[in-house]
Symmetry: D2
Subunit: 364 residues, 4 copies
């Protein structure tokens, strides 16, 4: 298994490089009867698309998905769903000059070490282009969650550089608030500051990092498995599998390091045992690796784009000194386009775990 | 698959509850010819054992492992290795009083929601007792890494409460420095402060959180798979699968959020392309999800123990208010015992990925 | 993955060699709430046990299973169930003389080629001793099938040498009829002839082959997956994974080769579409790889035991000519003990596929 | 997992229905550096293609494969290889009349029972059309085997109806001899009789069954895993996963039932222990589930096509009596087109197990 599959029951397999003919994904295990059409996919892909605003890469892709199988008369059949998205605006000549250079912060050298060869055009399989396939699959998972489970996944940009959004109630953020600006931050004041910061980085031929928050609501208690397939573990794997992620935390996260247990524990609110809530949510909706019914709140740290048109010192394939300026179209900040990718990955994990729980018979 | 297996080629399956007869692990996929005996396991289990110092739980377990299969004349045969560790000091009566209560910060309620039943004694499968099986398996992985790969995994306690260790060169920390004190912090000054802090929490019938650093050195470039099975993703899943982990980061981690790309990129040092190094290591030894040959540096945030002998308000199984004081023997701080668990999990991931890379033919 | 795990949701992992301390199995994924105790396991293990009659090996094992986890107050918890069966009567000295010889028909040479080493005692992991773990796991699967699905798996000896049992209605065979004689053939006349034939082989220091029939009734329509995980494919893998199996067929099997389509098709009987039956059952209960609701009827060809006390020519590890007489206790005919092994494997497959179907939502 | 993936390291995932837009396969885990281009795929697909002779279905498909990823400058990159094959000649109107009927011998009813819905057009996912994706993947596996392992897989038609080919030395059959006639039987006399028999069935609006032999030569000793992933078990699963297979055997197969052990054992020929051979090959090249270096010889029984233009009685979706004549283009005999499908599946298994053995370090 060369790492291009994800999930146990709701299983996703992708293929495709940045400058190859196309990206494709096969979703195997989606239950039958779910209404699905191309518009469901386009909606999500549009949020991920390059060229959507000045804050992101200007590569032009229509990202028009084609459903090749698994849907009949508007509903899933239970057989695998294949989706194809062709690459249109691959400017491979931009990369020819750097075919023998190792771009700092990229996987060029690592791929050579791993395989002995690499498709250098546009970063090959290491490029974020492959995420188009994941977002398409995530659209299906999201639909399943909404229609069968009543769960929703929403992400936004919580931080860019030192600018931190104020979001007093993560559970109350709406998609409209997130989509109100191209930077996908629901705090309108912070959003403007973030846009300015990103623009500044872009004009400096540089890039800037940030943090994304992802919240899943309506997730029933009981998802996740003890020991290895804890929900937090699979969610972390999902987020860390996205390009540029250097840290993941949930609930109070790294803040727990300085806490006393008596302060950190979330105390139960007396009430209906079938809908138990806690007064606080420092555990971000999961205990012992299993969802509790409280909102699942996670954060992912996303590094600044490594590709810069600004010159950087580096080495070539023989280890000799060189300089590099990665021409091409790059995101000055990955956060806005990261949001739909993160939602997709979290949706895939929740869909998979929900099916696994259903297999178990839903608590006797 | 109910989540008790981990790994693709070096595959580990565990079973066992806190107060059941025993814990068992099957390691399937260890190559033949590796020298292995019970002493290798005992060495690691001793570091994880309860009762090792005043800083941890006083439950008495000898944790004597028995190898049931897979080893012949002192070497692995290539067939599955089963290891049994019996439970001796299960004081189930301590838990009888709380069988119908939901302990805050624990998975009691989540298990009921998931399964409809739970073995409440000592926390059942949710208890950290299951980690004895993981540490036994990790001992085998560590041996494989040391003897076949030349890699080493070392973890330590980097933070307890607000006390942060100063470790200027993570690559240079030694096992001896870590084991010099019961708190497993290689900074002797911070170690003493940490011991005092933990003792204070214990006397307050409370607990305190912290952070562990894990470093893997000697890992060749090329481990990890593009897209889903990125090395950082599998390592994160491994660490998050351990009890009490609320955050994981590698390299500069969440610090990348405020960075510019030009500052964050690790610049290559000209030299032998087969042993390329960078001047800095903000990417913690992994790029594009693949190891680069630089030390892999990760950090895990570990929450304060939720079980407290101090009284806490909670609810019972019917959602009615109650109070709880979890008698029994608890760790006032999980960090010292977390160290060998984290090493074990990281070793399992590296062993697995190394075998996967060997399957691919080691870069042509 | 070194091949010691089986199943996707109802997942079984085994370990243990013929002359090692013990065999162990972990069943991961059994739903919670199933009544289970040691007696359920003992019942099945007794049918597999050596020494049960003169027709089989005289190795003395009590095969007393110990449940180490996953059961609480008489019911499964949903967490993994580990079962331990110790080896008692390993007569390793019987094998010391042949440590450097390759027994014909055995895996000795193949193991050396694969691993470079082998535990020669009693055949190591290649010995049928490992099936004790499978039969224990199969007992749990059988219980799940009976109590949750209403399905039953029954196998018997259909042929020994040229003696073929007459079983006009496979669906009507009872466990009592099978267990009426030590040879496990429900045709009393053929049973006696078979016993005589096996005894003859034993006195000749030889062995004899045969065929086992396995029938599963009460299996709902809808189990199995199109393409790769067809029910017939997983059932065949399950049966072929047992020692000594050289052929598997279902329904009319190899008899279809000479048939015309118009004769081979099973014609539907008009009736309740929720309980459709066909007039014949040449397709053995499966179409397109999916169960139809008709009885699943399979046959497995089991070779004569390769270990003979009679002298045979062979080679040693250096390829030099030698002779071998495998002292030790061997089955003159594998069929009687094969019956519970085959039932166990078929039960594991059906349990797994039933859980997978339940995950899908049971046909909308 | 909905059963559309196959393999552990050399992993294949397919999607596509008979009358949907296209079939697609993703091959994940092919090592880098293998020379590969569309011609390699076309060669195999041409042997599977409909319309290749009068003996098979006359559906017109060009089956032109498009490589979407995983190949750069003529060699595999180690990243997943996606292949697309579009459907061109889907005559869905042929199926509209039978949308509510259950065709005897087909999975129509089973799909309804499983999913509650089915894409009836051309048989949907149950149609043999999906095998175009498998044969494309198998072409890559074959190349890997030939170039890296020195192994070759060859299949042929051994029997049609009562006509049995005489093939005295399976190891010596050549591809040229197989391809000499459209029926793919290397015995020229039997080939002619078979062609006549198939033609007769076609004129009778009927179909005829048969048997295919598959031989793998040059397979090193050591492939396959003890217990569950025995090579014979994975090969059987592979063959049984193909449409229309009702029986599989290897070596002497069902013939072992009447054998004595002393006659059935294959006796070793003294010689180089690194290249041990046996005098006979009743075990078909595998012992204890592991390859021995002798040719792997298997046979698969293939039923007569169930779709007949001749009228047959059946029922509709409500269980009411009806008659059906499956218009459309059908194979009067599946055997000729089965040959490349069987080779593909066997090649996939061998490639996967070879990579797994390489991961283990190739016998120390």
């Amino acid at each position: 298994m060369a790492g291009s599959s994800f999930g146990t029951l709701f299983r996703v397999t992708t293929a495709g490089e940045s400058h190859g003919p196309a990206n494709v994904v096969i979703v195997d295990g989606c239950p039958p009867g779910l209404a699905l059409d191309v518009a469901d996919l386009e909606r999500e892909l549009a949020r991920r698309k390059p060229g959507q605003s000045k804050l992101v890469t200007q590569r032009k892709e229509s990202d028009a998905p084609e459903i090749l199988s698994g849907v009949f008369e508007g509903r899933t059949t239970g057989t695998p769903i294949a989706i194809l998205v062709r690459n249109e605006d691959a400017r491979s000549r931009d990369y020819a000059k750097i075919a023998d250079l190792y771009r700092p912060g990229h996987a060029d050298h690592a791929y050579d070490a791993k395989y002995g060869v690499r498709d250098y055009r546009g970063g090959g399989r290491a490029s974020a282009r492959e995420t188009v396939a994941r977002v398409a699959a995530g659209a299906i998972a999201k639909k399943l969650l909404e229609e069968e489970v009543g769960a929703r996944v929403l992400a936004w940009v919580a931080q860019v550089g030192e600018i931190v959004a104020e979001v007093p109630d993560p559970e109350a953020v709406t998609l409209e608030a997130v989509e109100a600006t191209p930077v996908r931050c629901p705090d309108p004041v912070a959003a403007q500051a973030m846009i300015a910061r990103i623009d500044e980085a872009r004009r400096d031929q540089d890039s800037i990092g940030g943090v994304s928050t992802i919240v899943a609501t309506g997730v029933p208690a009981g998802l996740g498995e003890p020991v290895f397939d804890k929900l937090k573990a699979d969610l972390a794997k999902a987020l860390f599998s996205l390009p540029a992620v250097l840290g993941v935390e949930y609930g109070i996260g790294f803040g727990c390091a300085t806490m006393r247990g008596s302060d950190n524990n979330d105390i139960y609110v007396p009430g209906d045992p079938a809908a138990l809530r806690t007064m606080t949510n420092r555990h971000g909706g999961m205990l012992g690796g299993i969802s509790t019914g409280m909102p699942i709140v996670m954060r992912a740290a996303v590094k600044p784009t490594s590709s810069l048109s600004k010159k950087q010192p580096t080495v070539d394939r023989l280890g000799q000194p060189a300089t590099i300026a990665t021409e091409g179209r790059h995101d000055p900040c990955l956060l806005p386009r990261f949001v739909p990718m993160a939602e997709a990955m979290v949706a895939l994990v929740l869909a998979d775990h929900w099916l696994r729980w259903r297999a178990m018979g839903f608590a006797r």
